[in-house]
Symmetry: C2
Subunit: 142 residues, 2 copies
C-alpha cells in the first residue's frame, strides 16, 4: 500500500485527485496506475482501471483470480464493476469514500465477484490526508 | 441505433460478445465502440467505455452533458458508473440484460447523474437476436 500511496502522490503532484493503485501477484507488481482524469479528459481514467489494464496487458489474460489490487481510496461504482469483471482475488483499499465509494451505490449487495475478498483501512489515514490536502489546495487556489 | 448495431455486428464478426455503442452530439457521431474484451484481454474494454473515451478525446472534455449514448444492450454496472462520471445527457439502450445489466446491481437506485435521461427498448429485438446468435454459435462450436 505504500507503493500505491506513492502513485497517489504522483497524481497529487500533477494536480490530479490523488488516488493510486497497484495490482500485485506473487509478490510482484504487475500493474500500477494513478488517477489521470484531468490529463486525459477522461473520467474513466481512474487509478484502478489503469492498473487493471496494465495487469491484463502484462499477463495477456483478462481474469486476475490470483492477484490483489491495492488502492488508496475506496473504489467508486465504476471501478467496482471493473473489479467484478476481472474476477480479482483480493481488493485492499485504504480510506473510505463516503461521497463516491461503491458502498453508497450498492448498499448491502456486493458488486464484486463472489470469490473476491475485500479488506479496508490499510494506511487509510495517509490516503485520506492526501485527499484532504489536495482539496484544501484547490480551495486556496480559487 | 442502427449504427450502434453495425458496431455490434463488427464485434460479432470478430468473435467478441456483440455489443455496439455510439456517442452522438448535434447529430454527429463523436465516439463509437464495439466490445473488444477478447482481443485486448481487458474486461474493461466494453463498447460503452471505448465509445466514451473516443468522445472525450474528440471533444477534449471530460463531461458530455449534451451528448447521447446509444448502446445495443443494457449497460453493466461498470459502464453505468462510467456514464455517471461522464454526466452524459441521455442514454438509449436496446435489449435488456437480465444477467449483467446495471439494474440487477443497483435495484431502484439510479447509478447515473441526476440529469441523465434514460430510454430503453430501441431496436431491442435486433440487439437481443445478435446476442442469441453469438451464444448459439459458441455452444455449437464446443
Amino acid at each position: 500500500m505504500r507503493r500505491a500511496l506513492q502513485e497517489a502522490q504522483i497524481a497529487f503532484d500533477k494536480d490530479e485527485i490523488p488516488v493510486g493503485a497497484l495490482v500485485v501477484q506473487d509478490n510482484k507488481i504487475i500493474g500500477r496506475g494513478h488517477n489521470q482524469t484531468e490529463l486525459l479528459h477522461d473520467v474513466t481514467a481512474h487509478a484502478e482501471i489503469i492498473a487493471l489494464t496494465a495487469a491484463f496487458n502484462h499477463l495477456g489474460a483478462k481474469y486476475l483470480p490470483d492477484a490483489t489490487l491495492y488502492v488508496t481510496l475506496e473504489p467508486c461504482h465504476m471501478c467496482a464493476g471493473a473489479l467484478y469483471w476481472s474476477k480479482i482475488g483480493r481488493i485492499v483499499y485504504g480510506a473510505s469514500d463516503e461521497k463516491h465509494g461503491y458502498r453508497k451505490f450498492y448498499g448491502n449487495q456486493s458488486p464484486f465477484h463472489p470469490k473476491t475478498v475485500v479488506e479496508s483501512g490499510l494506511l487509510a489515514t495517509a490516503g485520506a490526508e492526501l485527499m484532504k490536502s489536495f482539496f484544501q489546495r484547490k480551495r486556496t487556489a480559487k
